[in-house]
Symmetry: D2
Subunit: 293 residues, 4 copies
């Protein structure tokens, strides 16, 4: 039985680790706050008292952390993953971070004979719970093949998209498109409401035509109800759009809509709404439009 | 058997009229160029020598024309639909025009006891051929009920969204979202190509996650292949975005992404690409980005 | 002595008419509200009881009105300027309106042998009071020559920029640039304040370099003090930017910054700030930024 | 007589150092390419064979280099300024770099008792030659007082705007405004040309009203003549706008126009126009507009 060390048991990590347990893997989990480890133990996993303990006996190590600096420290820092690793181990970083950091960590892994993949996910908390995530993987083909049985316990669409960092690049494109789709939906809703149109019917017919999207299906109800319980926090989407705009600048890619929506997400965070779900983009559109009568 | 006068047998109108014939309606078609009328006759319809002849014996009149002035002239002009109509007729305008024009025509119809609906469609030439259009209807509920058997021969998602003009408003929102989704897809493709990612895999995984959209499914292959055979011409989308931006301005709706993409579509038309499919938005993004090596 | 009929004695019109009186012209003024006429009489002008009375004995008629429909009605409507005119009269419309309307009115004037100029102004209330307006004129050269002695009483920079409508086109470009300069200044102020920079010193050094502008000189103090007493109301600038964006669309001109700032001005009007001075653009930037600590 | 070590004798640095010589300072210059040092010697300066030699005997060291990494290496690198410095020296960095780097260098200087100022300039090559630069200074007041006699040889508007880094922040705001003013001017020119207006007259009247700006005065002739000899290269402005957008993101400042023009400048660089003057923004507007007939 493959044994897995899982580091980072947050909103996404805990249900992902739970699905690994359910699929029959032997999972040792570590998290900074002990309560999340206990939750995994209740679901059939084991507790690790430190990163080292989670890594020591594992065949595969998975990291699922908030941001680039977190991953750099947990993987390459003192008492981190690489410090406790043994040659031949496979490290799958499923966090959303900057592609350059993923490439650096792959190099650092190679230096101690640890194989590294960047494998960020899309699909949100719901996708994590249902084991229905989309997983985009950067790295070597043989390592991807080795990772697949593990990833299949957590995701439905699993694609090897290129060399180290490529998974993060695709995730960046994903976050660009999702933010844009959310903002366009928000604009459409405010526009339709201003004209006194029946919104339920309108969104139904929009969903059935060329304007249809997964964002429209999943996020329109929250926007109509002004229910912005996360879900996916604006602070995190703001972080991701920072990666997108930096990578686009570096590669000379013209992304005017991506850049504009990054500015709107930043504005929401700046005015204190960062802990709301990203569908709260609609509140900014509402605040800058004539109130519907 | 319900008899239908169908005016406007273009790229959309001919297959729509054909589906009415196939569904058992008695269809008399009129078009400015005789060749399109002949094409309808070959598919089982009748030829009308004038607007008046198409309208005279019809229970239901359908118009499917390029732009607001065309519809105004064909419906309310000399020798137009209303001039040849008889009380109680039902006129379904399926063109995409300005909501204000739809409201004016509804008033003009009411003055001569003709019931008018605005019922623009989404789904493109493919949807017209397959009878799978989305149809968004503005007007009175009893008239919508009367129109439904006819509309069901042409569309799959048929929704009454509000009073006169509401169909056009929803279509405007549709065009806003579609243009935005196309541009975001174009930005994502150029971004991914610049980073050397496997594009087929990347688009597959994007389609499976929260970034999924009908535009991604249907238009990504054309963008990747640089095949911009219309489809839906940029000139028409440009016209539609003129309606969107004017209506948003009038209602005080803040649509920054809609406004930005309207500017990009206008730029493509200005530099002579108006006869290409709207997926050609990707060419502008490519021209303003560093060429992929 | 040249006699002048002056129609429209608002914030701009009254001081302009007053400067004509001061320069020795015989001015008969008309305005919808009687109080403004009385104010002109106190400054040495004559009262006209109607448009017709203002026009009747005048050598030159000047109109200074809020918007295109006002000008169309006052000039070409029933009991309007043209209805009371005599052949050879010179009509100088100094309102800011759509270039197409100016061209229509020039044609309507020509039909009754009235020579028409469009001569909108820049410089605001202060420029009107000081007789220091910039005046941009569209029309025939000989008519411009005839108008110059009159215009010199009101303005300092007086330029014939092209045929009928050209004055309005240049005014549109002026309003595009002014709105953009205001918004850029607002962005710079919020940016500088967020970084704890000494604002007075910073604006002084910016004014001395390539970033210098008339907007920076005249409007920065109001922005720093949050004093948005008009001055030039946002509702009027919003109207003008509607002319700009429509004319740019019609001519196929790519104006991404103009279009973006038009959206921001519209947002301010939509949320009820239309009666503030246009320097209130800074409030929107502040509301979408992190509060300076 | 104050002795000055001047490092970086490029388009800006050489005329600045020359003005110091002319004002009576004893200037030792260093540059990577020997030809620039020779040019300074011809103008009355001394040649330094290394950074160390330039620094060794100097009372004041000035650096004028292209980008943040250059300054970091020259100042804090091996055999750099600080390595050759003696306690009490004054280092004035007049390069345009990221404010965070300026703050780091000030700390590094303090550790070896070297007083550091960030003092970037505005005014371009012309301002450098004429000794008419605007200079914005961040640092301690007593150090600014000590630097003033030196700075007055190079600039006309010299302002202490705040603590370490503040000079760079103001320079960033300057570059935001200048890029925006250039783009707005480009939009206005293309708009006016499309409408057949007399451009010389139009720009004269715009300059006289609220739309006036230093950019309009200095850059309109180049735009009209399509003469894009630098001047200030787009690659450098692109670098500066990277500083602006990063600093705005970090401080939560909403800069939608700044962000949009940064994207346009990046597009020009991406398509290979980076070595043109920044007034070449007008070429992009032209390429995305209908050609004037």
């Amino acid at each position: 039985m493959t044994s897995i060390g899982f580091i980072g048991l947050g909103v996404m990590g805990l249900p992902m680790a739970t699905n690994l347990v359910t699929s029959g893997f032997d999972v040792s989990g570590y998290n900074r706050s002990r309560a999340r480890i206990d939750a995994l133990v209740q679901r059939g996993g084991h507790a690790a008292a430190s990163i080292g303990e989670a890594v020591h006996a594992a065949d595969v190590v998975i990291t699922m952390l908030p941001d680039s600096p977190d991953v750099e420290q947990v993987v390459a820092g003192e008492n981190g993953v690489l410090a406790s690793s043994h040659p031949g181990q496979l490290l799958i970083d499923m966090s959303t971070i900057h592609p350059d950091v993923s490439r650096r960590l792959a190099d650092a892994g190679a230096a101690v004979d640890v194989r590294v993949l960047d494998a960020p996910v899309s699909g949100g908390e719901a996708g994590a719970i249902e084991g229905a995530l989309s997983i985009m993987i950067g790295g070597n083909a043989e390592d991807v093949a080795a990772a697949e049985p593990v990833l299949e316990a957590m995701g439905r669409t699993i694609v090897h998209v290129g060399p180290h960092g490529a998974g993060q690049t695709v995730k960046a494109a994903n976050q660009l498109m999702v933010a844009g789709h959310l903002q366009l939906l928000a604009e459409a809703i405010v526009f339709l409401r201003a004209h006194g149109v029946d919104l339920d019917g309108a969104l139904r017919v929009l969903a059935g035509g060329l304007a249809g999207s997964t964002v429209l299906e999943r996020k329109a109800p929250a926007m109509l109800a002004s229910d912005f319980t996360p879900g996916f926090r604006l602070t995190l989407h703001h972080k991701d759009l920072g990666i997108v705009t930096a990578a686009a600048r570096a590669s000379g890619s013209f992304i005017p809509l991506g850049s504009a929506v990054a500015g709107l997400v930043a504005a929401l965070v700046a005015r204190g709404q960062g802990d709301l779900d990203h569908s709260a983009l609609v509140t900014l559109v509402e605040d800058l439009s004539r109130p519907a009568s």
